[in-house]
């Protein structure tokens, strides 16, 4: 409790120490984005408007983060496949299958000895089968935990992969837009010379 209070006090003090006074002049400086005059502003605006037009195409071509996460949550690696990362997808899928398979194998072994333990009548057999059932169960849990970790990392990865994929989609659109001489814009046909 004391430690928490101390931490809170330190945080508040740090906030005050690092807080900067709001400078309206700097905030409203029209050259802060590198626009020296109206021609610079015009160039930036033109660029932004062009990018805005491309956003519509981007929205259609970009992959949904949630879709990818759900896919990878259901089948590890599926989201990666969707986002054009088949190697990663394969590794995650294979790892997950292997870990779950091994976990199931040990779980089955554990159940086998557990049944024997349940049916045993002799004290020696009871102890022996119990011990034999315990080790596979622990292995099974260990592999299942590993599978869970891989699954979690798979989710983390699919978020990264989707972000990277979407970034690439945008770069590709921009590249295509810059290289094309004829563009169909909202204002009509634009030809670059």
């Amino acid at each position: 409790m004391k430690r928490s209070l101390l931490t809170l006090i330190i945080l508040v003090a740090a906030c005050f120490a690092f807080a900067q006074r709001f400078d309206i002049e700097a905030f409203s400086d029209t050259t802060k984005y590198g626009w020296k005059d109206y021609s610079d502003r015009s160039l930036y605006r033109q660029d932004l408007l062009e990018r805005q037009e491309l956003l519509h195409i981007y929205e259609m071509e970009a992959n949904s983060m949630w879709d990818a996460v759900i896919k990878s949550a259901v089948v590890p690696g599926w989201g990666q496949f969707t986002n054009k990362a088949p190697t990663k997808g394969s590794i995650f899928l294979a790892s997950e299958l292997a870990l779950v398979g091994v976990s199931l194998y040990f779980y089955d072994r554990s159940l086998y000895y557990y049944d024997k333990y349940m049916n045993a009548n002799q004290v020696e057999d009871i102890e022996n089968y119990y011990n034999l059932a315990l080790a596979p169960r622990q292995y099974s849990m260990l592999f299942l935990g590993s599978a869970a970790l891989v699954w979690a990392y798979n989710i983390f990865d699919v978020i990264q992969v989707t972000g990277e994929h979407n970034a690439r989609v945008w770069e590709r659109l921009m590249e295509k837009h810059r290289s094309s001489r004829v563009n169909f814009t909202a204002n009509g046909v634009e030809v670059r010379f």
Binding site: Y38, R45, L48, L54, L55, Y58, M65, G163, A167, W170
Partner: protein
């Protein structure tokens, strides 16, 4: 022992699930998309400064430039909103925010501020400040709805204050090109019509100085805009084309002149009769040119000249007639050559009378020096055959209007001044047959006691030539 173990397993599984869920939430929290959502949330809740600062930060850290673009759009809107808020307190600050917003919507509000300041300057008659704001709006906000009004205002300032009619005209052209029919364009049209007479006068001066292309540039520029009646400007353009055509005619460039006359006709159709008469004048020149080539027997060039007529006036009858004449002349030449050849054969066989007749026919068809010479020789031959002596006398007597007789008489009279009459012996004309047929030797002797003049010539009956055979005869003929 069994149940607690199973319960432990279930508890462990539940913990793992929570851990996984927590992990997912943390991962999603770190997602770039969430930064954009945060920016949008700031904007939606009216925390524009926060939205701007977070966007500026996001631009530096975010890989996905599509998200950055969306954030930049939000930032632009945030600045616009800040500008609208600031407008109530400080227009200077609002201007800065609108400039930072850098969007068409912000431009509209920025233009409104500029216009308000412009109107203030108008109240104090400060045209320089007005011009400054007008130019700023036109330069920085070319898509603003205020543009036509600003252009009209600037035209007024250029004309009424600065006297810069060329700049005013340039503005009017831009105004018309971009906003034809706009109420401000209509007003500006009436204003700009004041400078039209000067522009026309300038064009006329250029045309008079033979700078036709420059003059046409002025005229066509005027014709493009509704500042002058189309009939009036067409008349000026048509007349200028006619003037240029006349210059080309003077320079002998008939084809170009004809082209310009045709162009002129399009502008001044009511001058059709005069222009067509002028074009006929041009084609008549081509016909005369062709006739001259025919005389020089250059039929190829002649045909080209006649064909040029048809390029101007198809089936022009005088040109057709000229071509017919040329063909007849060509036929006559061929026929004359045949007759000439026949005449030569007749002459060679001694049929001089027939030859003369044929030569005359050939001469009638195609008169050449050669034919005329042959006719003369044939005539002489016939006359010489008839009475050679009489013909020889005739030749001598008629030689250069009786020159020989006159000069001999003069010599005789001169001798009579120095000698007595009986001392001078005059032989008179003596005609002696020469060695060759159709040639006679002609003598005339004047002998005194101290001087002797023995004149002697050879007369060729065929060609009527007289050749002196000694020095004093030659001197007498000079």
């Amino acid at each position: 022992m069994n149940l607690p173990k199973r319960a432990n397993i279930i508890i462990s599984m539940t913990k793992i699930r929570y851990l996984i869920l927590l992990g997912i939430l943390m991962l999603l929290g770190a997602c770039e998309m969430n930064r954009l959502r945060s920016v949008e949330e700031h904007y939606e809740k009216g925390r524009y400064a926060a939205a701007i600062q977070e966007t500026d930060d996001m631009i530096l850290k975010t890989k996905n430039r599509a998200l950055v673009t969306r954030a930049e759009l939000v930032r632009s809107n945030s600045y616009h909103q800040l500008g609208l808020i600031a407008q109530e307190r400080s227009t200077d600050l609002a201007i800065r925010f609108f400039k930072l917003a850098n969007s068409p919507a912000a431009d509209k509000d920025l233009a409104k501020i500029y216009k308000a300041r412009l109107m203030d300057a108008a109240l104090t008659d400060d045209y320089e400040t007005q011009l400054e704001y007008i130019s700023t709006i036109l330069r920085e906000m070319p898509a603003s709805e205020l543009v036509p009004e600003m252009m009209q205002r600037r035209i007024n300032i250029y004309l009424d204050r600065l006297g810069d009619s060329e700049a005013a005209w340039q503005d009017y052209m831009d105004l018309f090109d971009g906003y034809e029919g706009n109420s401000h364009e209509t007003v500006a049209r009436k204003t700009i019509q004041r400078i039209v007479p000067n522009k026309i006068a300038y064009g006329k001066r250029l045309a008079e100085a033979k700078y036709y292309n420059d003059a046409f540039t002025v005229y066509f520029e005027l014709a493009k805009y509704p500042v002058i009646a189309s009939d009036e400007i067409n008349e000026i353009i048509g007349n200028t084309y006619r003037a240029q055509a006349e210059d080309l005619l003077e320079a002998g460039n008939y084809s170009e002149a004809e082209i310009f006359l045709r162009i002129a006709l399009q502008y001044v159709p009511h001058q059709r009769s005069q222009i067509e008469a002028r074009m006929r004048g041009i084609v008549d020149i081509f016909i005369v040119q062709g006739d001259n080539y025919v005389k020089q027997r250059n039929y190829e060039q002649a045909t080209q000249s006649y064909q040029r007529v048809f390029e101007i006036i198809p089936d022009y009858k005088p040109a057709l007639d000229a071509i017919q004449r040329m063909h007849t002349a060509q036929d006559n030449i061929v026929r004359a050559a045949q007759l000439f050849a026949q005449a030569e054969r007749a002459e060679a066989s001694g049929k001089v009378a027939d030859a003369l007749s044929l030569y005359r026919q050939a001469d009638a068809l195609d008169s050449t020096q050669e034919t005329r010479n042959r006719i003369a020789i044939s005539q002489n031959t016939l006359e010489a055959d008839r009475n050679p002596l009489a013909f020889a006398k005739k030749i001598v007597n008629e030689y250069r209007g009786g020159l020989l007789n006159t000069r001999i008489n003069n010599r005789k009279q001169e001798l009579q001044t120095r000698y007595k009459k009986n001392e001078i012996r005059d032989s008179g004309w003596k005609f002696l047959h020469s060695t060759s047929q159709y040639k006679y030797e002609v003598r005339y002797d004047l002998i005194t006691p101290r001087e002797t003049f023995l004149y002697v010539w050879q007369v060729n009956l065929k060609d009527r030539s007289i050749i002196p055979l000694n020095k004093i005869s030659e001197d007498l003929m000079k």
